[in-house]
């Protein structure tokens, strides 16, 4: 008979891993729903199809992550996705904002895609194999999301009126974008075990080093000292009316018949 692993540590590790999966899944889920709102009204037909398709991809990534989480905790993936109250979602504050205009969407997506790229690169090295495998798959799709957004960022930055709108959106979003790298509860345990190969704070620094020169080169603002100093503790727990509204939209069908099978 082999000695069982220390049960306390096991539970702690599992809970921390669940928090990491939930945070990542909620980010993908909520940004996917926000940007799906462009379906039918994007700047041109081709962009409409592209944006809708990318939003679908994100919701697909969320689904895969919720399923991983459900396996870990014995819950139901749909129930995690649609069965929670708004306050129980753990997406970064970046996803608390309403869709707003096209420049705002491009600014938010650019911040998110670049941050997600840094995070996925780390998760692809996770010692938790189901996660490292999923992250490797997601990276392949996120590559063209990032290319797409990079194209739009440079395009909008190249004209005066659009650049001003982009800059304004970035100024609004910076503090909340940094919340993508808010520490996950129990993170130390995951870093020790390699489930999260590096602390969020390290990833945050790497992300800032990558995108700051790009934005500066385009004449777009980086984070202010205040943005950088903003408390990260509630970066994934504060919710807004804009998100409560979106939550009402995306849970509408599930709420109409609880537990229905499709």
């Amino acid at each position: 008979m082999t000695a069982p692993e220390t049960p306390a540590l096991d539970t702690v590790r599992r809970d921390a891993l669940a928090q990491l999966l939930l945070a990542t899944a909620d980010d993908e889920f909520v940004i996917g729903f926000w940007d799906s709102e462009w379906t039918g009204i994007a700047p041109m037909l081709e962009e409409d199809v592209a944006t809708s398709s990318i939003s679908q991809d994100e919701i697909g990534h969320a689904r895969a992550l919720y399923e991983l989480l459900a396996e870990l905790t014995g819950q139901d993936a749909d129930e995690i996705a649609f069965g929670r109250q708004p306050e129980a979602y753990r997406h970064a504050a970046l996803m608390n904002h309403a869709r707003t205009d096209w420049a705002f969407t491009v600014a938010r997506r650019y911040l998110y895609e670049t941050a997600d790229t840094v995070r996925l690169e780390a998760l692809a090295r996770s010692s938790y194999e189901p996660l490292s495998q999923l992250a490797a798959k997601m990276r392949r799709e996120e590559r063209y999301h990032l290319m797409h957004l990079d194209t739009w960022l440079r395009r909008l930055a190249g004209s005066d009126g659009a650049r001003e709108r982009l800059a304004e959106a970035l100024r609004t979003l910076w503090a909340d974008a940094l919340a993508v790298f808010s520490p996950v509860p129990g993170e130390e345990v995951l870093v020790r075990g390699g489930e999260l190969p590096e602390p969020m704070a390290t990833l945050r620094t790497r992300w800032l080093e990558q995108i700051s020169p790009v934005l500066a080169g385009l004449g777009l603002p980086g984070p202010t000292a205040d943005d950088l100093a903003a408390g990260a503790e509630d970066g994934r727990t504060r919710r807004t009316d804009a998100f409560r509204w979106l939550h009402g939209e995306f849970t509408m069908v599930a709420a109409s018949e609880r537990g229905a099978t499709w």
């Binding site: 081709e46 199809v49 395009r155």
Partner: protein, 104 residues
């Protein structure tokens, strides 16, 4: 685009290859202001369901077009330039009959 974010949009013709070695087949076209977005849109329209192994995206104005009827549909009977232009069915039958006769 009308919001001053770039030059007027162009039409890009898209060709796709289903499997390695297959011919590139014209699939349709997309509108985009530049090559980069044209590639993204071509990918979304003709590749997002994993139906393509390769896409060619060509600006329509980079295509040299020939549609002059004098050059393509000359008024004379040119059926003899087609593989089926000569009717050899009867000649062939006669030759076969002759060969059969000679060998009997």
């Amino acid at each position: 685009m009308s919001d001053g974010t770039g030059p007027a949009e162009r039409i890009w013709e898209v060709f796709r290859q289903e499997a390695e070695g297959d011919p590139m087949i014209h699939s349709g076209n997309v509108r985009a202001p530049d090559e980069e977005l044209a590639m993204h849109y071509a990918r979304e329209f003709y590749g997002r369901r994993q139906e393509s192994t390769r896409l060619w995206v060509v600006a329509r104005d980079a295509i040299t077009e020939l549609d002059d009827p004098d050059l393509l549909k000359p008024p004379f009977d040119r059926s003899f330039k087609r593989p089926g232009g000569y009717l050899i069915k009867h000649k062939l039958e006669a030759a076969k009959a002759r060969a059969a006769e000679e060998s009997s």
